[in-house]
C-alpha cells in the first residue's frame, strides 16, 4: 500500500516492512495519528537467547 520507490527487488522482508512502516507513519502523521516505533533484534542459537543490539546473552 505504501511501497517506497527506493525498494529493490532483492530487498528482504525486514527492509520492506520498515519501508512500509516509515511510509505509513508519514502518511498517518499528516492525518492526526502520531506513530512511532522501536525494535528488538534477538538471536536464538543452541538454546541461548542473545540480544543482537547489545551482544548480551
Amino acid at each position: 500500500m505504501f511501497a517506497s520507490p527506493i525498494q529493490s527487488t532483492t530487498s528482504g522482508i525486514v527492509i520492506r516492512t520498515f519501508q512500509e512502516l516509515i511510509a505509513a507513519r508519514d502518511f498517518l502523521g499528516r492525518n492526526g495519528i502520531n506513530m512511532s516505533f522501536t525494535a528488538q533484534l534477538v538471536e536464538i542459537y543452541e538454546e541461548a537467547v542473545t540480544d543482537l543490539l547489545t551482544g548480551i546473552q
Binding site: 522482508i13 492525518n31 495519528i33 506513530m35 516505533f37 525494535a39
Partner: protein, 134 residues
C-alpha cells in the same frame, strides 16, 4: 501468544520472555527508528553479531533463529481523526476509526502493536547441506 510458545519450544528460556507482552524483557529496544538509515544501522549491528557457520551448500549459512520484534505506538487525536474520517482517503480500518470516534472521551488514544518477523535457521535439504546441530 504464538510467539511465546515458539520461543519456549525452541529456546527453553521462557524466563526471559514477558508473558503479558511477549517481549524479550532483557533485550534492549532500539531507540525510536526515524528513518531507513536508523533501521539499516541496527540491522548492520545485529548482522555482525549473528553466528554463521559453513554448510556444504553455503559458505556462510545462518545457523540460528533470528527474531525482529517491532513495537509500534500510535497516538490518535480524536478531533483530527474525525476530520480524517470525513475527508481523508479510506485505507484505515473501520475498527481503528471506530475505536476513536465512538468514544465520547476527548483524550488522545494510544494503540500499541507488535510485529514479530522470525527467520528460522535453515534445516532445508539437510542431506545435501550436511547441516548439523540445532
Amino acid at each position: 501468544m504464538s510467539f511465546i510458545s515458539y520461543l519456549s519450544i525452541m529456546s527453553g528460556q521462557i524466563v526471559n520472555i514477558r508473558k503479558d507482552t511477549g517481549e524479550i524483557s532483557n533485550a534492549k529496544e532500539a531507540s525510536a527508528l526515524d528513518s531507513m538509515d536508523d533501521v539499516l544501522n541496527i540491522l548492520r549491528l545485529a548482522h555482525e553479531r549473528k553466528r554463521f557457520a559453513a554448510t556444504a551448500m553455503n559458505e556462510r549459512s545462518s545457523r540460528s533463529h533470528t527474531a525482529v520484534i517491532v513495537h509500534v505506538i500510535q497516538k490518535i487525536n480524536r478531533e483530527k481523526m474525525l476530520r480524517f474520517k470525513l475527508h481523508g482517503p479510506s485505507g484505515l480500518s473501520d475498527a481503528l476509526i471506530g475505536s476513536v470516534t465512538n468514544d465520547s472521551s476527548t483524550d488522545d488514544k494510544l494503540i500499541k502493536s507488535q510485529l514479530h518477523l522470525i527467520d528460522l535457521a535453515g534445516s532445508e535439504r539437510i542431506k545435501k547441506s550436511k547441516a548439523s546441530g540445532r
